[in-house]
């Protein structure tokens, strides 16, 4: 944190103890690893589930369809349009003069499987491992992409709203008095606004994209941490070491961020995993209600809604339920371990 210290890279004894406490919570520790592995894998979703091959060898040349689009004519086809590698004609043409390396799942989140032998939604088969949705798209591919969108959305929302919340709480708690009084009343009014209705109304006026949804949810989610941080600052502003810093002539900003904030961070970091899971749920529920991401985007909430609409196709509801349940459980377990790590009285034997 402070570059001037010659030992900044070494963990302070306090943080070493915290790390040990975190590790001692086996469930949370393993949850973190499982979650990280899933998250990193989902970051490379294009390499796992895609309707284009990763690498094509054709007529002595290499092609990388996953990053660049090639017209069908490049592979001896007739049309100037982009090659559809799933088309048997193209696949045969390539197989004649070379080979293709496919991802594990040969569907992207929006690929419609036109070779279904049964009407969509199709049950699990060798081609679609957990079946297709009601538009013939592969469920597994949509889950992988949907997981990525959910987690990314949740992370960004959580981090940005925490930063805003911490700053707002810090200013309120540190200065107190009128600033605090007015800000508290404003917060009470703000949190009284009917969030869901506003989102529904706004969603019908403007087409919600990833960014717009993020901004809309952010309008209401930043208030979550204000109370906690404000309380910590109110408590700490009369501590002797804050007074000592004032006597040294430190400015308010320095005192707030160098002396008080590190103490308030314990409460903040303890809350963060729970805010993260809350953010994930917020997006999922909006998608479920149909006010979320635009139609066609991969989304766990939308898949859940399909499961509800197609009760005769249980693979839709069950898979989306398990993915959401497992993801949230992992986040809560991690949160518990973080809480243990920051608990000064926790003793492990």
């Amino acid at each position: 944190m402070h570059a001037a210290s010659p030992q900044a890279s070494r963990l302070s004894p306090l943080n070493q103890r915290r790390l040990a406490n975190f590790r001692a919570n086996r469930r949370g520790f393993w949850s973190l690893w499982i979650f990280l592995v899933l998250f990193v894998l989902s970051m490379f979703a294009e390499l796992i589930a895609n309707d284009r091959p990763i690498l094509v060898r054709y007529d002595g040349n290499f092609y990388v369809p996953i990053v660049q689009s090639y017209p069908e004519t490049a592979f001896g086809g007739e049309f100037e349009t982009e090659a559809d590698y799933r088309d048997p004609f193209v696949a045969d043409a390539i197989a004649e003069k070379g080979w293709m390396i496919w991802p594990a799942i040969r569907f992207s989140y929006r690929t419609v499987n036109r070779n279904l032998t049964v009407p969509a939604p199709a049950p699990p088969s060798a081609e679609n491992w957990v079946g297709t949705d009601d538009q013939g798209r592969d469920v597994l591919a949509r889950l992988i992409y949907g997981f990525r969108v959910s987690v990314l959305f949740g992370l960004i929302l959580c981090v940005v709203s925490s930063i805003i919340g911490v700053i707002a709480g810090a200013v309120q708690g540190y200065f107190g008095g009128w600033v605090d009084l007015l800000f508290q009343r404003f917060l009470e009014i703000w949190s009284g606004l009917p969030e869901l209705y506003l989102l529904i109304i706004l969603a019908s006026v403007i087409t919600p994209s990833f960014g717009i949804l993020l901004a809309l949810l952010l309008l209401f989610s930043w208030t979550g941490l204000v109370g906690v941080v404000r309380a910590e600052f109110l408590r700490a502003r009369n501590f002797d070491y804050v007074r000592a810093a004032k006597a040294l002539g430190a400015t308010d900003t320095v005192i707030m961020f160098r002396h008080v904030l590190p103490n308030a961070m314990v409460a903040t970091l303890t809350f963060m995993p729970f805010i993260l899971s809350g953010s994930v749920v917020a997006l999922t529920s909006l998608d479920f209600l149909g006010f979320g991401l635009p139609a066609g985007s991969p989304s766990l909430g939308e898949l859940l809604a399909q499961g509800k609409a197609n009760l005769h196709a249980p693979w839709l509801g069950i898979t989306s339920f398990f993915v959401i349940a497992i993801m949230l459980s992992l986040l809560v377990f991690i949160g518990e371990a973080v809480r243990d790590a920051f608990d000064p009285r926790k003793i492990f034997r």
């Binding site: 402070h2 001037a4 302070s12 002797d240 810093a245 006597a247 040294l248 002539g249 590190p262 034997r349």
Partner: protein, 545 residues
């Protein structure tokens, strides 16, 4: 059976698991006995194992984190306590053996009235309730000297009482069931000297009246001499010397006892330089806190924390500010540094500073610094010692490079006699005395001219106090520092101050050269303070209870 002492502790050891399979032995084969009606003092510095010994008598340690190795024995009224069942222990705790703690504010439940606090003990052990309990509680409050309006005090909450009154309530709770043994764990450390004198007197009287035995734990040898019959001196978990108070004090055999006895702050203040200029001058300084009330929160009156104080402080001089808690000493110190809003005229180094804005004040902050009372609270726990000391250097842009600043930090640590390598460590790794040295180094590194010392020694062990006083004196001589030394402990003030100002309720009661104040105080309030500090005697009437 008849010959067996009331309490007999034999080869008591206490070990704590510190994690990773290691253990730490806090108490090492301690043995002592205590007879009916007798007072035994356990003396030692922080960490010597006195409190742990006392807690293990009632088996109140955090088991199984703590455990007693084989051979440990605590017999009370002929019954073995180590390993006794919870049920039999509960019959003894608060009933036959009662305990009072150091910090009266945190030992009382803030949400319960006095009646409920004391009543609880009566209900648990005697099954008393309603009117019978109420009558007994009033009787107890009278016994501990809360005579005025004892009836009215029943409905009071702990925050409505002063520190001394709270400690009396604690004693009343302890006495509720006529215990045979009272364990007092530093009961007077957190209160003023005047209150300490009153509490000691109360405990002596109660012992005579009720004939109970007292196990008194303290680090203050003055208190031991006043109250105890026998004394055990503890060091690092062992009893190094035991015997009658008179024998031990007159002819200490162990080196550590001698060290403790010599540790009281001694010496004379530095002779101040003759040609000193006036450094700080205050005229009619007032700090009034408004009391707001009513629907519109209008100011209805003021708490006059500091009420019209004049003083002059010269270079190299020490002005001792003396008084009980709540007399406005600390507020005055904060007001001089403009850390508290004050009215009146404050002049520093020939410049009026009371109307300066914070940004204009910043360059002056380098020359006036403060050291706080609580060395645990005044150092930011998340910064290394080097960062804490170096902060002022950065703010005032002293030293151009990191290396230059590092050299200044090393010099400051050397000056307060700490190993310069400590700058890479964090405050929690240090003892109270070392932390106070760090706090002094933080102020010194800026080369100030004026230092406010707000009870810098009162949270420390006696022998450490003496070291800090010696250090302060030496620094003053070397740098011609002006000190405003705030304390309720007159022993320390006598060792440092050449001028003394006695405060009561924000006003000056008496002032003058230290020698005159200490040798011939004119005001009754000053005399009461002296008696409490030097002879631990309570003089009724002059001071609050």
């Amino acid at each position: 059976m008849a010959d067996e002492p009331l309490l007999s502790v034999r080869d008591l050891s206490v070990s704590f698991h510190t994690g990773k399979g290691q253990t730490f032995t806090a108490v090492d084969r301690v043995s002592f006995q205590l007879n009916k009606g007798e007072t035994l003092a356990l003396v030692g510095e922080s960490g010597s194992g006195k409190s742990v010994t006392a807690l293990s008598i009632l088996q109140l340690l955090p088991y199984p984190l703590a455990h007693h190795p084989a051979g440990s024995s605590v017999r009370f009224e002929g019954q073995e306590q180590v390993g006794a069942s919870e049920e039999s222990l509960r019959r003894i705790r608060g009933n036959r053996v009662a305990m009072i703690f150091q910090e009266p504010m945190t030992s009382l439940n803030p949400l319960h009235t006095i009646e409920r606090q004391i009543g609880e003990v009566l209900t648990i052990h005697k099954g008393l309730g309603g009117e019978a309990a109420r009558a007994r509680i009033v009787e107890l409050l009278n016994l501990v000297g809360l005579k005025e309006q004892a009836e009215k005090r029943l409905d009071a909450y702990p925050h409505q009482l002063s520190g001394g009154q709270r400690q009396r309530v604690m004693i009343a709770m302890a006495l509720a069931n006529d215990p045979a043994l009272l364990i007092a764990d530093e009961p007077t450390t957190a209160v003023d000297v005047t209150i300490q004198a009153q509490l000691l007197k109360l405990l002596r009287e109660l012992q005579q009246k009720l004939g109970m035995a007292i196990l008194f734990i303290t680090h203050d040898l003055g208190v031991v001499r006043k109250i105890a019959h026998r004394v055990c001196v503890m060091q690092k978990g062992r009893i190094v010397e035991a015997g009658d108070v008179k024998t031990v004090f007159d002819a200490p055999r162990h080196e550590y006892t001698r060290h403790l006895l010599e540790a009281e702050p001694k010496g004379k203040p530095v002779t101040p330089p003759a040609n000193a200029r006036t450094l700080v001058e205050g005229k009619d300084i007032r700090v009034w806190f408004p009391i707001k009330g009513g629907l519109l929160r209008r100011t209805q009156g003021h708490v006059k924390a500091v009420d019209g104080i004049d003083f002059v402080l010269k270079e190299g001089h020490t002005l001792g500010v003396v008084g009980e808690s709540g007399s406005g000493k600390t507020t005055l110190g904060l007001a001089l540094l403009r850390l508290e809003t004050a009215r009146g005229k404050i002049e520093f180094n020939g410049k009026e500073i009371q109307d300066l804005r914070q940004s204009e004040l910043r360059p002056l902050r380098r020359e006036m610094q403060i050291v706080f009372q609580d060395p645990y609270g005044s150092l930011s726990p998340r910064l290394s010692v080097g960062e804490i000391i170096g902060e002022g250097l950065k703010i005032h842009r002293i030293g151009r490079t990191d290396e230059e600043r590092d050299a200044l930090i090393v010099a400051a640590l050397n000056e307060v006699r700490l190993d310069p390598e400590t700058r890479h460590r964090y405050p929690h790794e240090f003892s109270g005395g070392q932390r106070q040295r760090i706090a002094i180094a933080r102020a010194l590194v800026l080369k100030p001219k004026f230092l406010v010392l707000d009870e810098p020694t009162s949270a420390l062990d006696l022998s450490v106090q003496a070291q800090i006083v010696d250090l302060l004196r030496e620094l003053q001589e070397r740098h011609r520092l002006a000190y405003l030394f705030i304390s309720h402990d007159l022993r320390v003030v006598r060792a440092l101050a050449d001028e003394v100002m006695v405060l009561k309720d924000g006003k000056i009661v008496e002032r003058g050269p230290a020698s005159r104040i200490f040798d011939a105080p004119t005001q009754p309030y000053t005399r009461a303070l002296m008696a409490a500090a030097f002879e631990l005697e309570a003089i009724e009437g002059a001071v609050r209870t």
